[in-house]
Symmetry: C2
Subunit: 360 residues, 2 copies
């Protein structure tokens, strides 16, 4: 059946209950990874020209799904406490109230930031007061490496009168059990879930029943907790290693948001390094990262950089940072004088052009 | 990667080659079942109000995917030789040339009809002459139970100058290996496949890598041929059984299209039986079918019925037809006099209304 096999829906309800989220059977749909849930939510809510609020920076693949409905965007700046959601009040008063707010409250991709409790409560209230739908995407919540878990916006909305109609909660097994299974779970108000189910039928009939069975048995066997303990221990070590290495390699030249969990460090070169230009040197040196400018819907920060710490063990992280440091030196020297004069001119030209583009 | 794992794409190319279809690597994308390919094709080609040509009757779930793009429809009547595609010429001259033609040339769902070679050649030529895109959906081609395979429209288009840009070919492992895996394969011109891949990234990032690996190994091991031999032998017996039983139960009261393969028999009650009304009696008698009226985009035939022969062995088919016969008798007697007079009046009212609706 399109909404998911009863066995997996029961197991997924159990998983959500462990996070403090109670859902009825008709408030949950199994999706082909969380990406499908984002796509279907966009298709169910957005018409051409509708406003979507996303974090600044935000998750790129969500933008890809939203883009297909030709919306307009407003963006919510992110600081150490997550998205500055109170900005939504400014949007409301300036006539740019979004129809949909999309955010990753726990250890966002790419910022790593965690939305504070105060902001979660505020957002749930704002949603019902202004009739704005909130899609809370939580792939990384179980990857908390420091501090205590916070309640989901969805859960808070459940105890905020009227707000439960305006919030949906999305999670996935991709960051904990296996990305290859493509199993997501979307919880929300019944009418919304009904609409999503109808759209899902047109999109892929149903999620692989084979994978649903595998996932259900895995969750029932309670093997996830043991795996999470292992992942968290390993990721904590890797995160510490990456922070130490980056700090000692770049010092004050790079500012870092230090996250309490997740998979990413979000940095910014204070020296104005263009991370897309730096990437060419990095690839030549044998290391890659995601340049920060792709995570913005407007005015991209070309000095931002997303560094992943989950994919490699400490010794490889150390090697990677050494290579990044070397690449950065090559980048600077190409710009500052030790490269050929033609190359210097080319780089100077690119930087000037980039600056001009940024300021227009 | 979004377009599919190299190993499965190679195995899928091999499968297509066995059907006489040669594709380059950049002309193939793995999809999450064929339903996703239909949805993505619709999203890539259709804008609101665009015309889509479908068979009459046509596959319901394809309509669900098309509907999301708010198109208009024209329909191509189906006879024993498949869709009467030459009707497209009338559409062209009356200003209703479709942008997309969707059809299931081999043992269509629900009609079971197989498009003749002449019509395939005609359609490939028409596509390039009029700039109409053809999506050839072939889930059942391997389920040929009688006669010899015909070349695909896609293959014919390859040897029709210019036509290769206007045809795509879709198949799936759902009707042969396993429906639960959700593995489809879509072949088409490179630009089209590029666009589909981009849309797929937004729709679900990629198809389950686990399932792709399972499917690739299965296809490499050449286990499919043995399974197909088994399926064909079994389905042939079931099809013969269903035809015999229906013919002896209903005689000339039901006309049948007798297909050369696939999973369905398509019938029509000549006595004007309303198959949606009959369904209530059928369910009460312990048998179900799909009433034919849902397979139409306009002027549904309420006396049509889709009967499945693939899902049950002969003894169950015999029981099912006996129950259907009983249900039909109950339906007729409720209408003709042995039911209560209130019930007779209700049924009479429904039939009159239905006839009026059909004629307007």
């Amino acid at each position: 059946m399109t909404e998911g096999q009863p066995r997996l829906r029961a197991a997924a309800s159990g998983l959500l209950a462990q996070r403090g989220i109670r859902v009825e059977e008709n408030e949950l749909v199994i999706t082909t990874g969380s990406q499908q849930a984002i796509d279907l939510t966009a298709r169910s809510i957005l018409n051409e020209g509708d406003l979507v609020a996303v974090e600044r920076p935000t998750y790129v693949a969500a933008l890809q799904a939203f883009d297909l409905n030709s919306p307009r965007y407003v963006s919510i700046p992110v600081d150490q406490e997550g998205g500055q959601v109170q900005k939504l009040l400014e949007f409301a008063s300036s006539g740019t109230l979004p129809k949909l707010v999309y955010l990753v409250p726990n250890f966002a991709n790419p910022s790593g930031a965690c939305l504070s409790l105060e902001r979660r409560v505020w957002l749930a209230r704002f949603a019902v007061q202004h009739g704005v739908f909130v899609l809370e995407d939580d792939p990384y919540g179980e990857l908390r490496l420091h501090g205590s878990p916070l309640p989901s916006i969805y859960e808070i909305a459940r105890s905020t009168p009227g707000a439960e109609k305006w919030c949906a909660y999305l999670t996935t097994l991709s960051k904990t059990m296996s990305p290859g299974l493509r199993i997501g779970a979307l919880a929300g108000p019944e009418q919304f879930i009904d609409k999503i189910t109808l759209l899902k039928q047109a999109a892929d009939l149903h999620t692989s029943s084979f994978n649903q069975e595998v996932a259900a048995r895995y969750l029932e066997g309670d093997r996830l907790q043991g795996r999470l303990d292992l992942i968290r221990r390993e990721y904590r070590e890797r995160q510490n290693c990456l922070i130490d290495e980056i700090t000692s390699a770049f010092g004050s030249a790079m500012s870092l948001l230090t996250p309490e969990g997740g998979m990413f460090l979000w940095g910014r070169f204070r020296d104005g390094t263009d991370t897309r230009e730096l990437l060419k040197h990095a690839i030549a040196a044998g290391v890659i990262y995601v340049p920060g400018d792709c995570f913005y819907v407007e005015q991209p920060d070309r000095s931002a950089i997303r560094l992943n710490f989950s994919a490699a063990p400490p010794e490889v992280i150390r090697l990677g940072v050494a290579r990044l440091k070397y690449a950065h030196e090559r980048y600077l020297s190409a710009f500052n004088g030790s490269g050929s004069s033609e190359r210097r001119l080319e780089l100077l030209g690119q930087r000037v052009l980039a600056r001009v583009q940024r300021s227009t």
